[in-house]
Assembly symmetry: D2
Homo-oligomer: 367 residues x 4
């Protein structure tokens, strides 16, 4: 073995291997999560190890914390949670060539099989065998996380770390928005949680002529305004479709991005669509609900799209381009940045609806 | 005025004007319809007068006969019913140049406004001001009918009159089928009424690799077989999704054409779709119904499409091409041809589910 | 006849009928055009009469003036020229319902047949029998012009007359730009004549991340800057593809809008495209030219699109939405507004390349 | 190590490793190729080793044999050639889970980087760093070949080995055909070499209403007929566009699959297209050539598509579905099956235009 090779080998295997680290762990079935010392993972073949710089808290993390039916049916504790994060590449597994040590990368959270029918049709976002970081395998609410190298997206130059940390959920918003025409369109966003907020900025940056957002929370509607919605509608006080008709001079919406999972929001959106419009569904309803199919879908010639995850990796490319252009600023949606140590507090803010996006700073990282 | 001009004028204004004719008329609010003597219509500017050769009976005609809530809310009797027909051009209104006397033409049933937002976006099939022949204006269950010249489609050479008569409802099936990929696809057809039957033949002619049809009626499933379905499933006896999985070796369906309006059929279809597939909805449910959106639509990345009418006039062109090629034979779906005089009997067959498509022969036309 | 009806009838038949008017007429084969007194046209069935408010001068008008081979092969003088204009509706022909007296409307210049294969496939912009206002039938460089009512587009509120006058050529730019993805894309515009200039503003308003324009004229490149191009390239001094690579950090262009008709511009554009990109061709080459198909098109998986006219009427709707939103400002492209009387001077400016868009003010209209 | 593990390990590492094998090797710069004894390759991480069962001879192999400018510029001998083949999986590299020992698989010939812009946009077929089996790395004209496991496509049940061997070039034809609408369309195929022949069968199986093929060789036109072309045109004797107009009753072609690389064929195809049609270019011209852009592309609103390789892996899935359905029979295009030992003879047949597709049987495989 030549000295050069030895040096390279050392560069690829830093001292981190033997240490332990802090992590937010779903330790057992039932509500809650705890901060624990766990071994630092290593980068297997085709994987990379990241030193986590920032991480975003997602509604899914709240579901996991609460231990709802979905979490109970899917997770096998103990698992380090967290699937939205940016980190620095500190270790390269065998065969990795697409990133190099020191790169800052954001992470796609779905580890796909590449071989099922969906994957073979370039529909990896609906891979039948997908495993999710922070749900099915250890995630990024930790000092270090190992991910497949192919899941790494080098962050565009000049992007702040807290924005890089939330490229994954912003990608959900991009996927939903880009599922239909945007340029010159009137777009409705029903539900102004973080992904709804992102999608307002995304639709505007992508050329929508008019973006109309709805929610029942004045706090969230104020965030929607900061994300540059052309109009906001408090649906606890006003009728969505009536107001849309007024704002759009009778035309209605060309597209609706449904981010709330609320039956009433979906019906409002369908009512406010022009004939031939599209409604893209990202929000997850808590239970089945009914629809007047004839009046709201069939007679109007509406297209409904179920949206999940991100297109691998067109969506990342689209988001990258929007961020690079400077036309998309996601920062107004980030209301809190706090140490990862205070994870419970972040969960509390989400439960109470007192936050837009919350970003966590891992142990040892300067805010 | 020169002799030539006079001759032409006479050709355009035949003696039919002054006569009366037989017609099937929805004479008043309430169940039923009656055969009456009514004036022969004339071709106004931009219109043509047709001598009706054959007409198809539609489920909508049954709704009108029964006088259900939809009919009650929409129709203003008296109206001559019938919106599926083929006829010979016997009079040309002012300014008509696209057809000539003696042409055999099939008729689009929607008279659109050309000026609403939908029309201006080439979405005339969902025109906000559409009027339907045989519903809103006098239709084709009669000896003569006047239609806008632009609604006339010259029938392809060699097409039998009874097939030409049902190009309108076959167009519904084309519109539904062509709303997504067909070539090389596994396509499910849920519901084997006439439009479901047409869509089986259409999907096959359009290159589907495998067409699987479902219904609960052995009579209709037998017609589905005659239309060349690769497999038929009696959903009163077998589970649709299980059988589809078996037939498609685990892949599932790429697309579903929902023709029944049944909630169970829609759920079956969604379950049997592969991830990323599409379900096109033409069947009209009798009332709102619920769906497990997360499991059946969102997590699978499904696209749902509300389908109404025909694209004006791409759908007609597609059907024309399929018929011309000889690859599409709609005749096995036509189970009855009878004099228009026996309209009540046709309605009875439909009510009892004892017919595929029923074609009527007007007074004075040889069967 | 009731007084009301009489009044309405009078409103529809104003005194204009009997007068003559001034018009710019291509009077005979050969170079030039002249201002003449001609009869005021009337609105036939389905037509409307406009009092022209503003008109745009197009490169086509220059070809007609010069009497090049195309003009010689197509036109049959005498013809009133001018196909870009806005006017007030002053007379309604029989059966017209989509506009009313006093409306301000811009005009689509293609009068299509509605019955050829292209028209029947919703491809009216490539109608096989199209007739063009100001080329095949009398146009709008006049005090009055008659057009089919369906060709009228009611101008969005708040749009200045000089902008309304150039919706037709701006539509060419919209058609070209919207022929492929724009949102988040790097778009090249090769050629900064008026339509190139429009397309810069349109691509930006429609959400392009970066718009790079090229030309050899410093005057035009300065106009490109005013239309908010992110970068401009003087291809007489710099290599287009090299500069694009630099500006886009190696990615290249997602789409090129070719507006010059120059072989070198097309090759530049193809070279600068990323693999899988699209090049949309609106500029008309003066003669056939060769291409290295393998290297520039096939191996890169490029899509080339021939673009002509505007989609009827989706393109108008898209432009309307862009203008309404306030995101598109076309005014910096209009460098001259002058009396129609000075038509020859406008032609001179175009010949010398000393103008962006030139707008004419008809006789009797205040500038 | 447990006995089970040992057995599994043995199964994965058969005795083949140490042996040598016969292979067709491009041994040095210059014309020709030779049969040599070379080491049997091994399956590295993520790779599989195949025992080759059948292989197809491609025009590219002829270019390599002749050592034309392209070959000279790209290849670095010695390289085992051959990029169309089917084989049995006899060794699994580390981490391979998508296939198992004993599987019969066909091979995608492009080894892509997964990380360039094109790959990240799901355009791997135009990967900027692609390496081709049998060109850049050792290929399949040999007893064994190692390929990336992800490049393996399990062949559909019931498919003959000689057909499985040519799924790669058939995929080119599928990619070209599926680049635009096929169902109910009139499709032209210009050039009846093997890929042209495949595309005839593919377009028919995919639902084209009418497929019209052209060539100058009576031998190839006869093969076109056997592939079920609806009409064939000998362009040395008849005008393509005139005949197409006649056959299609004036409509023209909806799409053209250009398989010849001949300038005249491309011009013929463009002339025969209806307005708004598409021409998909797979054939490689030997040198740049000119086009009358205005008349053939722009005024007609034509879309031109450069096609290369196969969509990874949608194209394979589409071909798989066509083959499974039984609607596509590629066998009439295979005119010769011969021992790989007689490779020179196969090259001779191709040079003289005396073959459709030629399939080779490796040493030790029964024909």
């Amino acid at each position: 073995m030549t000295p050069t090779t030895t040096a390279a080998a050392e560069a690829r295997r830093p001292a981190t291997r033997t240490r332990t680290m802090k992590a937010v762990v779903k330790a057992k079935a039932g509500p809650g999560a705890e901060i624990r010392d766990v071994p630092v993972p290593t980068a297997g073949p085709g994987e990379i190890l990241l030193k986590v710089k920032r991480a975003g808290v997602c509604g899914t993390d709240l579901h996991i914390w609460i231990w709802d039916r979905w979490a109970e049916g899917r997770m096998k504790p103990p698992v380090t949670i967290g699937h939205e994060f940016v980190g620095e590449v500190v270790e390269l597994g065998a065969g990795v060539t697409n990133v190099k040590l020191g790169d800052l990368v954001s992470s796609e959270s779905h580890i796909i099989c590449h071989t099922c029918t969906a994957c073979r049709m370039n529909l990896g976002h609906v891979c039948e065998n997908t495993r999710i970081l922070g749900v099915d395998v250890n995630g990024g609410f930790a000092e270090y996380v190992a991910i497949p190298a192919i899941n790494a997206w080098s962050i565009p130059p000049g992007i702040p770390l807290e924005v890089a940390a939330i490229m994954e959920p912003s990608g959900n918003a991009v996927h939903t928005a880009f599922a239909g025409p945007l340029s010159g369109c009137n777009i409705g966003v029903t539900g102004c949680g973080p992904i709804g907020l992102f999608s307002i900025g995304i639709a505007k940056a992508a050329g929508a002529s008019c973006v109309i957002a709805s929610d029942v929370s004045p706090y969230r509607l104020e965030l929607a305004r900061r994300m540059k919605a052309d109009a906001v509608i408090d649906v606890s006080k006003e009728d969505f479709a009536d107001r849309v008709r007024e704002i759009t001079h009778g035309r209605g919406l060309d597209g609706v991005l449904e981010m709330s999972g609320k039956p009433s929001a979906m019906r409002d959106g369908l009512t406010a669509l022009r004939n031939g419009g599209r409604l893209s569904l990202l929000g997850l309803p808590t239970e089945p609900f009914e629809l007047d199919w004839n009046r709201l879908v069939i007679f109007k010639g509406i297209t409904l799209q179920g949206i999940v995850g991100r297109r691998l990796y067109e969506t990342w490319d689209q988001l990258d381009q929007l961020l690079r252009s400077g036309r998309l600023d996601l920062r107004p949606s980030i209301t809190h940045t706090m140490p990862m140590e205070r994870f419970e507090e972040a969960i509390g803010l989400l439960r109470e609806g007192k936050a837009g996006k919350v970003v966590l700073v891992p142990w040892g990282e300067a805010a």
